[in-house]
Amino acid sequence: MFISSDRKLLFISALSLIIGFTFLFTITSLSDTVIKTKQYNTVKTYGKFLMVIPGISKENEEIIKQQCSQFAYEHFGVVGNIEYADKKITMGSMKEYMGENLGFSVIKGNWPQASNQIVIEEYLLHLFGMENENIPFYISLKEDGKQVKYEITGVISNYSYLLSTSYGRYLETKAYPSIICGCEKNDEVQQSLVIMQKQLNFRNAENDIDYLLSKISMDTMCINERLYGHGYKDNEDMIYTRVLYLVLLNFLLLLEQMVIIRAFLLRNKKTLFLFEALGMSPKERRKVIFCLIHGFIWFGVITGYLLSFLIGFTYINNIFRGYSKFYISSLQYNVLVEGIIVGIIFSGVLFFYNYIRNETVIRGLIGENSRRQKKYKFKKLNLSVVIIQTVCIFFTIASFNFMNTFSGEYEDIDYDLYSKRTTVSYPLKEYNIAMYGNDYFSFNALDIFNEYKDEISLSAEAETNQSTILLNKNNIDSYFSQYCGYNDEKLRPEDEALWKQVANEAEKYVAVPVNNIKTVVLPQKDFNLFLKKYEINSPVLEKNIDIACVLLLPDYNKVLLNPSIKEKGMILLGGIQGNENNAEFCTESFKVESLLSCDAEECGNIQVIMSEEVAKKSKTVLGYDTISVTMNKDTPVSIQKNIEQKVSLLMASIQRGLLDSSGMRNSQDGLMRNYTSIMSNTMLFFCIIVICIYIILSIYIEWEKNSYEYGVLRSFGMSYKALQNKLFFMYGSGIIAACFLNIFLGRYAFTNELLTKQQIYISIGITAGVTYLCRIWVFYWKKKQPISSMLNKPL
């Protein structure tokens, strides 16, 4: 009861601790929750393996294990191929835990246990036409020429077609089964080697994969690049922000706590020395201080924990739905860690304080101090004030910068499906000869989107087997001459033989290099919109009367003398096709119903644009190499999901290729937008609170410490206002100094040029405004204190 603290001081101190700890725990735990949930989803979706090598021999396996001993190795079996509707589908065998490692998620039913039980990928349900069957059900599949009956016990979801995202790393589907059976491992079953990290570490996954690739070089490998990408890279901003905010929040909290402790010790200095004079040992005195301060801080920690629990769940339920799983564990972990940090720091601080302080009891009581000060105690500049204001301005600016990163509007969602057809081609004079070509999307690939015509727009790049625009040798205008070159290289003997087969026809024309041509196919609805956009009024095109197209030429000058291609004229598309032994020169005429010029930056290549109907009629267009699906951003979520499912099924149906989607980026961006908005607003609010509390407490300390001296000065004629002005001068000068420091810091910290000038001014204005609001509050707080009571105030 002898230890005092006036109510206002106690209230402000308690409030600052509670707010500080609540923010710290909420922000760090929310961040952890979001990161862990995303990583959990990554593992669930894409598995946690690094690499799968199918059909590896025992000798090679041993070599790999010796060279790469830091990894863990598992196996699964590849039984073989089964056939259904002329499609070969790979069947594998593995235990359920291996399925989880490889990202096979059971979305319906159960994992197979017996050899006649299987789980199948979702797209196969559609292939088999059995979407409406109740699981389990039976199906007869052709295996090694024989019909075998299997019980389908479940459906799995697998993102194997998404795993390799660069053209340099091809996905070989033999590595990855689409059907998994419950058969036991036996020697006849070809084993696939699964390489995993011993301890899952998303950050190291990319380096581990690169290391493996440097040691292993095989044609058929499956690499899980998503592990690093989705597990770490996508979360990198959040991971760094979490660390940065943790450090800074701790720093600000520490500053506040130092101020609170100082205020408390100052207030009770004489009392504690008096206790010592009356018989309390220094050790007991230290114990009292230790217990009181720690008790107070732990009160803040526990209250902060409880409030974080409530606030965190409110955020999760309203903004981060689906992310609640890890919040409690993250919160408890953070509270424990923070409690230990706080305990160690403050024990150290108190120990150090007691160690360095060597005031005798009497000095402590009468307050003598041998330290000489220059003149009277009005600092022009206070370093701690400069630091706190620099940090607050910096973090206010950082909040705005962070907010700006994800402040863009939602965009339409794009899906780009790449068929990755295995075309092998090489140059033969000015032509490219296509040797093989398969696994492009068939014409009916777009049919699955028919019911969503209103929500999406489609376009496709045609697979034309290296066909290009052929121009009459005698009529190359100045426009096309920039494209066409002549290849005088001597042919190899085998190529000579091939060239001889087509030379008569091929030499009549000059081929526009195939890389400069893009053949675009649009479904009728999209084609009509295209015609409308370019104001093309052509019944031939609208009704698909002829094999007609629109030609889009970058930076084309329509007023050319003797143009190679004329509007309403014909163009020839074609090229050399064949194999090692035979070559054939193929051509097809298209009517150029409309000839358009476009900005080269906008359209890139020369584009031959035709409708789907025309593409199907033509013999040049064989199918689609890439399909682009654009979904309107306002499409309802349920329809979005359906469309996305169709896209995924389309992708999976060719079991190859790549899928790139801005949809996932949009949803990620949406999450990041919410996350950064919360973090930014929280940091902003916390900065304001911190600066308020710091200023008020530091003024309080200054006042308490020097009240006697201020009383003397006031008694000799210094007015209250003059006194306050002198005290506050250092806060004004602190802001100016803080601004200069922030100019320096900002150059290095905010390099993305997202900040506007207004935001910087607002940041400075907020800190300055809050500082002066505190000044006004403190002015009126102490105004009524009589001078006589200041003179009687103990030191």
């Binding site: 101090n369 330290r371 000489r372 008694s715 000799f716 210094m718 009589p786 003179l791």
Partner: protein
């Protein structure tokens, strides 16, 4: 109240009540007093009689709960805090029982404190005179805690006199001093009063100062007993 030319400071029906959440203490009750120019006045009474409170109110260091204080014709209540502070700075000097020297600056800086506060230049010759007369010439560079009680009080007197104030308020100036120092300080007050016509209002409970003063205000339980 009629104020004549001779009256420098006066108070009318001064009452002071201290209030806390539980207790209400009336320290001064309807005190009336006048102080002439160039006079030495004593406010005399036992501990707890309200003398220091009255002195603080007269000096403008505290506010009365009721009543008015006039310096010449200016009423304290009508002045702003800044005006009152200016009044104190130019016209008043203070000598406190506990000296109230600022411990972190040396004696010279303590003495020159009024000059710093009021922005008024001080008379350097007068300053030299003061420290000589007060016998603290050799002590000006020392820190307050290095001086004895008597020396500190003399430094406080020098501070109070620096700007040649009209009134010096002294609250138990000899309360912490021995007999010899008490005598010295008392003689000093008399000398300054004779030479500079400074008005002194001294709070004390020592009877030996009574013979040298013009007016004695005796307080008992917050009321004037004999004037």
């Amino acid at each position: 109240m009629i104020i004549t030319e001779d009256i420098l400071l006066s108070c009318e029906n001064i009452s002071k009540t201290y209030e806390s959440s539980r207790i209400r203490t009336k320290v001064l009750k309807q005190v009336n007093a006048k102080f002439k120019k160039g006079s030495i006045n004593l406010i005399y009474g036992k501990s707890g009689s309200g003398k220091t409170t009255l002195l603080n109110i007269l000096a403008g260091l505290d506010k009365a709960s009721q009543g008015n204080v006039y310096y010449l014709e200016k009423r304290y209540g009508s002045m702003s805090d800044s005006d009152l502070a200016k009044l104190r700075g130019i016209n008043f000097g203070f000598v406190f029982q506990a000296y109230h020297l600022i411990p972190r600056i040396n004696i010279e800086e303590n003495i020159l404190c009024p000059s710093y506060v009021n922005g008024n230049k001080y008379d350097k010759e007068y300053y030299q005179f003061l420290i000589k007369v007060l016998g603290i010439e050799m002590l000006v560079k020392k820190m307050p805690y290095e001086l004895s009680g008597g020396e500190q009080q003399r430094a406080a007197i020098a501070r109070a006199m620096l700007l040649k104030p009209k009134i010096i308020f002294a609250d138990e100036p000899t309360g912490n001093l021995d007999t010899e120092n008490t005598k010295t300080i008392t003689e000093l007050f008399q000398k300054l009063n004779e030479e500079y016509k400074t008005t002194f209002i001294i709070v004390t409970h020592e009877e030996n100062l009574i013979e040298h003063c013009e007016q004695v205000i005796r307080l008992r339980d917050g009321e004037i007993v004999i004037e």
